[in-house]
């Protein structure tokens, strides 16, 4: 009887050893990347990070730079906190997360000032406000503190892309309808404008923050109408 038990135990050990390592992009890991894009989007579903989505989506270029900055802060922040997760004293963990995010943001701010000065002027306080972006602190606290480095990295990238695509979508409509340009290139032909005897005029209202809120609202509407998982009883 004892023999049998021992054998069973051995077999279990073997089983653990033999279990194949989880592939880098297993189904579970892919979910970390895909979920925030749609089913669990930080802006449209969790309604986090709205502040910057309203403020810097007048033009595509600043929105893109903001997205890249958030992508960097989110991925690097998640990785760093995940690396330290077993060493962070529980009582000061929020402070530690804040310090990690704040230093990454300070770094991003300095780099922007050095290499894309005009954009950094346009983004002004909003770069600094990445620190207070709820998406980032939320992911550090809820995910990176309890998961491996690779999974945290994927989670960070996933959420940053979820944030980015909404930002870019909003900026696309606001720049196209508000200024008639995309990335600064003119899309609406000059001849269409009223001033040149045409029929078209840019909608100045698109440049104001309320239209960003309405655009986000429309995106949420479309998303909820199409995604059955999000339909509430």
């Amino acid at each position: 009887m004892a023999d049998v038990l021992e054998k069973k135990e051995e077999a279990k050990d073997l089983l653990v050893d033999k279990q194949p390592k989880e592939p880098l992009f297993s189904k579970k890991n892919r979910k970390l990347l895909n979920d925030p894009l749609n089913d669990n989007n930080p802006i449209t579903v969790q309604v986090l990070g709205i502040c910057s989505a309203l403020a810097i989506t007048v033009k595509l270029y600043p929105a893109l730079v903001m997205s890249i900055s958030v992508l960097f802060v989110m991925a690097a922040g998640n990785v760093i906190v995940s690396l330290m997760r077993n060493f962070i004293p529980n009582r000061i963990r929020i402070i530690v997360q804040l310090v990690v995010v704040a230093s990454l943001v300070a770094l991003v701010d300095q780099v922007l000032k050095a290499f894309v000065y005009d954009v950094s002027k346009e983004l002004s306080v909003f770069v600094g406000l990445i620190i207070t972006n709820c998406i980032i602190m939320g992911r550090l606290e809820a995910f990176a503190l309890g998961n491996s480095v690779w999974r945290s990295f994927l989670d960070g990238i996933g959420n940053a892309f979820g944030y980015a695509w909404i930002l870019l979508a909003v900026a696309f409509f606001r720049e196209l309808l508000g200024s008639g340009t995309l990335f600064g290139f003119q899309i609406i032909p000059d001849a269409w404008y009223l001033a040149n005897g045409g029929f078209y005029s840019n909608n100045g209202f698109m440049l104001l923050p309320p239209m960003a809120l309405i655009t986000v609202g429309i995106i949420i509407w479309v998303q909820r109408a199409r995604n059955t998982k999000l339909i509430e009883e």
């Binding site: 004293p89 530690v96 310090v99 780099v111 000032k113 050095a114 000065y117």
Partner: protein, 240 residues
């Protein structure tokens, strides 16, 4: 290892702060030269924009070289030697007394005409405001003006850096008929004479700041400019 011990917590916090401080200051020191170039180019861009020359920031140094013929520093109304006009920090200078204050002056040559560019620095509602105003050779008529601000309210005080506000200053005058310096009056909506411009609705304190800034900064230059521009220009002015 118990990560929740008090001693460990203190140790962790200390180590974290040191590492963060070291890496951030390393990054800041290394990026400073790049940032300084940007700030310098932007300053050149603003100086040029006050004589109605709009250039891209990257092309500013070249254009600055070709248009700005002279940059001098005044102290107590006299030109002094050994100072780099471009490097003078006006934000510090305006707090000094009139005798000690260094005032940079840029002289530009555009299509054969001489223009005097005077840097301005003052206070708005929330923070510093600054700008450049260029005078024609008669040292009286404004050729162009450009303003900027650090933190004025968007839509209100921040409007001082819009063309709508800046364009008003063109062809306004700084000296009255006795050639006494009077500055430009930023009015609340009833600007009519050539010494007045309209302020910004809802931005009264910022508008007043612009007026005070012009009075405070330009007065340093009046006596020097009168001499420098020569008596012919002044005479022409009186006969006008």
């Amino acid at each position: 290892m118990d990560v929740n011990k008090n001693s460990y917590t203190f140790l962790f916090a200390t180590a974290m702060v040191v590492v963060v401080a070291a890496s951030l200051s390393f990054a800041a020191t290394n990026l400073k030269p790049f940032q300084d170039i940007n700030v310098e180019q932007e300053k050149m861009q603003s100086i040029l924009s006050s004589i109605q020359i709009q250039v891209e920031r990257s092309e500013a140094p070249e254009a600055y070289e070709s248009y700005i013929t002279e940059a001098i520093v005044l102290q107590g109304g006299e030109a002094i030697e050994g100072q780099d006009a471009f490097a003078v920090d006006l934000a510090k200078e305006i707090r000094k007394s009139d005798e000690e204050r260094l005032s940079p002056l840029y002289i530009a040559d555009k299509e054969g005409e001489t223009y005097y560019i005077i840097p301005l620095q003052g206070n708005g509602l929330w923070g510093p405001i600054w700008g450049y105003v260029s005078l024609k050779q008669d040292i009286n008529t404004v050729y162009g003006a450009t303003f900027d601000h650090k933190a004025e309210t968007p839509g209100l005080g921040a409007e001082i850096n819009t063309p709508v506000f800046e364009e008003q200053f063109k062809n306004k005058r700084m000296l009255d008929s006795n050639l006494t310096f009077v500055g430009i009056d930023v009015r609340k909506g009833d600007a009519s004479t050539e010494y007045q411009v309209d302020g910004i609705s809802g931005g009264t304190i910022t508008s007043d700041g612009v007026e005070a800034m012009i009075l405070d900064c330009v007065k340093e230059y009046v006596s020097f400019l009168k001499e420098h521009s020569g008596k012919t220009a002044t005479a022409a002015l009186i006969s006008e």
